[in-house]
Amino acid sequence: MEFVGQLQRQFVQFSHSLFDEGFLDDQFQQLQKLQDESNPDFVLEVVSLFFEDSEKLLNNLSIALQQQIVDFKQVDSYVHQFKGSSSSIGAQRVKNVCVHLRSFCEEQNLERCVMCFQQVKHEYYVVKNKLETLFRLERQIVEAGGTVPFIL
């Protein structure tokens, strides 16, 4: 039981840090509110969809930015989609960097776009890592016979 307690404390601390450090915003909590016994994996499912979607978008963006003649409209369209999906799951930092990237697209500033795209990728992989850690902690708590604490 002590072990479960430890895990739960870790989980609470880690969750708080994600919000305090701006990785996640209120929208993530909105998703957590939609999870219940009838849909116990809702957040995991949505976030998994987000990961899948994001890999494709990042790949498309990478290709689009490497073209001889960059189609900024196309790049902008991908960034718009990525901004949308990251906003929908509450991935605040990713969303914010996407906003910057869009403004560089508008300026058609390739150098800035490329630099900003690196930032987008960085923020995405950081939050992906953090979310995977969060889900892993949840699993460990459940496997150890405990319940996952509410973070509100």
Binding site: Q30, K33, H80, K83, S87, I89
Partner: protein
Amino acid sequence: MAQEFHVLAVDDSFVDRKVIERLLKVSSCKVTAVESAGRALQVLGLDEERSPVEFDELKVNLIITDYSMPEMTGYDLLKRIKGSKKLSEIPVVIMSSEDIQPRVNRCLEEGAEEYLVKPVKLSDVVRLRDFILTQKAHPPQMEHNSVKRKWRDESPNAGCSASTSCDHLRPPIPKRRKMVQL
């Protein structure tokens, strides 16, 4: 007696479709979620290329659609629905991550019930559902459009009889957008 409130949700994003579907189900709505305006027209029986008998036409109480979609936007879908004799009475709500006033005005002018800025919250969905159900139960005495405008201006008695309190109709947080005199 609870009526089944059927919503057609249209969004090209997998993530957003999943979220809106869940938001609607949690709000006790029946949901049909499609990934494009084209598909939405098909299920509504407005697709000219297919004869209506090929699909079981859906009876929907509300259509909620993303604005930015490839091929056909939510705005175009709104126009098609409002331009159709069969479906023009169905309320249409536009969702968009972009809070652009001219876009909002255009959608409202075209007959959209609301313009919701994404990400859509549970409180938005519940408020919408309740508002539309109330409109059905107590049809406004005044001309439809002016009631919508008044409600949006948050005058307390728009569309309601004097004896009922309309506080529950007023949105707690004005996430939806008002028409602005340009």
